[in-house]
Symmetry: C2
Subunit: 295 residues, 2 copies
């Protein structure tokens, strides 16, 4: 088992490439990170955007830390993207994801990861419309995989979310979606987040990571690790009390045979949290997880 770190904790706090890379390596002792689009927006004009991307790439390379993936953050998740009600907006989202491929490749990463978007109130409640939007979204993902192959990307990881107005949101829908995407130009895999998989108000008896991982095992590309109480999508660090224990992590991984899959700690704090408290939370969490999981 190996633990990486999603850079979401650093948003608006530690944005200097050298400083952030050193912090990841020396303080948090990770070798693998996921870069977040909350640090560089794929929409930014190509030249200065890629200039920034290259300075993160160089800084992390210098520390020997792999930027495994470019991953959607809070800004990306604020939009309806590939499930938007209008064709105009869905097409804008496709342009966005192609730009995200460019950014990911510019940073030297092999994987792009993201949720696909969300449906409008009435679309989500209309079975025919849901099915139409689902097919449209799959088609865009197939095109994105083809674009990714062209640009040298190796995999796309689709994140399951805890909203029934999005796809995929359950083990069953996740497996179906992965089956529907089996013939893409580069592999499309699944990212499962502990806090999404354990979200009880939506999933009830299926709020069970062992069940999720066993059912989805052949398709899992990466995992997001967070502490949660199962009542909201908390994205807490592990200094908070929650239901994700080292025993649970070990059991779920071992039952599904996913020991090789990287789990990235993804802590999302409120903006008004003090920087030092965020730092301490990540530091203690990484130390705790390494000790408890014997990494």
């Amino acid at each position: 088992m190996n633990i990486g770190l999603n850079l979401s904790f650093a948003v608006k706090r530690w944005m200097k490439p050298g400083q952030l890379a050193r912090m990841c390596k020396e303080d948090f002792k990770v070798d693998h990170v996921q870069f977040t689009w909350d640090l560089i927006d794929p929409w930014w004009p190509d030249v200065p955007r890629d200039q920034m991307a290259l300075s993160y790439k160089a800084a992390f390379e210098k520390e020997g830390v792999h930027i495994d993936a470019g991953f959607a953050g809070l800004a990306a998740y604020s939009y309806a993207n590939l499930l938007a009600p209008s064709a105009v907006q869905r097409d804008i989202a496709f342009t966005y994801f192609k730009r995200a491929v460019d950014l990911t490749v510019a940073m030297g990463s092999k994987v792009l990861g993201t949720p696909v978007g969300g449906m409008n109130y009435d679309d989500a409640r209309d079975e025919e419309k849901r099915s139409e939007l689902y097919q449209i979204m799959l088609d865009y993902l197939r095109q994105l995989a083809a674009y990714g192959e062209e640009r040298g990307l190796q995999e796309i990881h689709i994140e399951a979310t805890p909203l029934w107005t999005e796809f995929p949101h359950s083990p069953e829908v996740s497996v179906q979606m992965m089956k529907d995407l089996e013939e893409t130009a580069i592999p499309i895999k699944l990212l499962i987040d502990w806090g999404h998989a354990l979200y009880k108000p939506l999933l009830k008896a299926e709020a069970d990571m062992e069940l999720w991982l066993k059912k989805c095992a052949p398709y899992v590309g990466s995992i997001h690790l967070q502490q949660t109480d199962g009542m909201l999508d908390r994205h807490w660090d592990f200094t908070k009390e929650g239901i994700v224990t080292p025993e649970y992590i070990k059991r779920a991984i071992s039952a599904s045979g996913l020991e090789e899959i990287l789990q990235y700690l993804e802590v999302v704090t409120i903006f008004e949290e003090e920087d030092d408290a965020v730092y301490e939370g990540i530091k203690k969490t990484m130390d705790y997880l390494r000790q408890e999981l014997s990494i």
Copy 2:
């Protein structure tokens, strides 16, 4: 006193222009809204972006609802913007805000509103660096006001936030910043948010809306209304228990003589909240506020 509505509640829930405009007019009975960049990202390619902007414009005009302003949402607030550590990123942010002016003007709105950005950990703790970034940010705002005038924008409203790593974050810093921006091409005013102004962990004895409004009165352009407990920036609707009472609202407005300033309810929910619960919260809040404030 008049109450408007920031469209943040509608993000990823009610994105169809006609449906949203009708909901605002018929269900929530508002005549004034602030559009949020979480519904249309200023970065989106001009042609489809403005096509979407025009359909919102037409739909709200049809219902007789004024889109008073274009306002930064969660996506915009995820970036360091004009206070970013690198000159490259600050310049990207300036391009972003110019695009936001274009979007705002395309929707027929007169006001652009936004926080200015946030500082890196070490920059925020270095008095000299803070002062340098503050001056750079002011200069960009002056240029933005000039660009706004050119495009037909009438005012820029800068939002005070509950973070000392951002400007402005207190009544004193707000007044100073407004004084420093008195000679701009179009007026730059202040937006004060109830939940930011009452944030006790930062403001202590100054977490007092009457004090904020009295001190800042000559500069206030608009107000964000939310329910809060003063311990975090809650952005609750008024079905939740909190410290913002109708009496408090009336007292603070009357003490500062700001009866003419519009207060926009800005509710921000977690993504996994059910749509119907969000709708009910807004509906009950608008009914309650209208009754209690005798509007």
